[in-house]
Symmetry: C2
Subunit: 259 residues, 2 copies
């Protein structure tokens, strides 16, 4: 066996944004190495990521992990990595307009993930959750009452418009894998809210179950390569964040516009 | 004259995320209509956007503006729009790996814009700034002390690695236009901080001046099509947000990791 075709660089110990890339690589049965999870003696550990952020992989400097190396290509930004990998792994149609549509959906998933992250880090990533608890409670209340239903309602409508089986309609794609991952994460982080929303996201839930049963995904989920969710990760379970309700609920604006 | 080749749908009255697309269309001298800025009698106004969000342009449903229509193609998400427009407008090299690199940089600009937005909306987009003033002050303090220097330092290093003239090295691209816009916005919103950072972002500042003097950009900036910055927009000037300093400064973590 030669060198693996792909090298993924992501924080070891958490699923994080790297998990969207891992799921695509796993579903495709790709040959890859999760570099930072190797022992330090084999070039792994957090040091491997710090080297990449310093520019050790060449002039296309990443701002943050995940970073993927595929031969001469080095690419960062989760959605860009999937946009690059999609056609190579057979996880997106090759027609440019469908590839663009898949990417657009992935970028909206990226936005949802960022907003979810900020429910426990609304002030600063350099502070712990405990240092921004009050702000977190307030932000999480609006997130679960307004933003989460808006995002999930959007994806449900997309599934509906496409016929319901896959994000892109008839064709399975990496977007389905990412929607599965987001749903898993949200159910871990906000179980009560997700329970309440369940009747409004039947197509999304069915899609997630379908993805979970794909043979390679199922094997991955049972393997030691799949890390558990935790309160060190993007999706975090803090029961107190579901207890709050927005003080302003009832006077919700008609337009929740994000300028 | 026939129909314009491109239709842009974005909130009228603000620059917002639409401005990154406008700058690309303007620099290329493209034929486009800024639909929502037309009078309602001609199909403009906010109603035009609401129709698009309801799906009036077809099955590729956008989550939020900006949305671009080019013939049969309908695409949302600022960075995806620029990724699509880039080769058509001659604003990015056609080599796939350079196009991907440009897109990766644009996605990091997108992250910076989102974090800038959240300095005045750290709790909820459905609340006014005044309703989240305390949280804004705390978030803005960390943003100006930690995140902004990190982002701008990153782009400065990218310019440095590429030779300094353009984001992609020798070739001008839409990324340069976006970096100009971000710098303009940040100087409006955080004049003191940007003054302090100036010596550390010489290459970025030179790039922005270069972009400003491009004939079509210069003409656009002086035209009524260029809207002024304002406190209704993504970049907002609230002097009090520059007055705060992070209570935790001095014990800054070594790793400002975003899980």
């Amino acid at each position: 066996m030669g060198d693996p075709e792909y090298a993924l660089y992501y924080w070891p110990g958490i699923q994080g944004r790297g998990e969207f890339v891992r799921l695509a690589l796993e579903e495709a049965g790709a040959s890859y190495v999760d570099v930072a999870r190797l022992p330090r003696s084999k070039g792994g550990g957090v040091e491997a990521i710090l080297r990449v952020l310093r520019g050790d992989l060449g002039p296309h400097l990443p701002f943050a992990p995940p970073v993927l190396r595929a031969g001469e290509v080095v690419v960062a930004q989760t959605a860009a990595i999937l946009h690059f990998l999609g056609p190579r792994l057979g996880l997106v149609p090759r027609a440019p307009e469908l590839r663009l549509w898949a990417h657009q959906l992935q970028l909206t998933i990226t936005d949802l993930v960022a907003e979810t992250h900020d429910t426990h880090h609304p002030v600063a990533v350099s502070l712990t959750y405990e240092e921004q608890r009050a702000e977190s409670a307030r932000r999480a209340a609006y997130f679960t009452a307004e933003r989460l239903p808006k995002f999930l309602g959007y994806f449900e409508r997309v599934l509906d418009a496409g016929g319901g089986r896959h994000a892109l309609g008839r064709r399975f794609s990496y977007v389905d894998l990412s929607l599965f991952q987001v749903l898993e994460g949200l159910r871990y982080a906000f179980p009560l809210t997700m329970g309440t929303l369940a009747p409004r996201i039947r197509r999304l839930s069915a899609l997630a179950e379908q993805v979970r049963m794909r043979p390679r995904v199922a094997a991955y989920l049972e393997s030691p390569r799949r890390l558990p969710f935790s309160t060190e990760d993007v999706f975090r379970y803090y029961p107190e964040l579901e207890a709050a309700t927005p003080e302003a609920q009832g006077r919700r604006r008609t337009r929740g516009r994000r300028s």
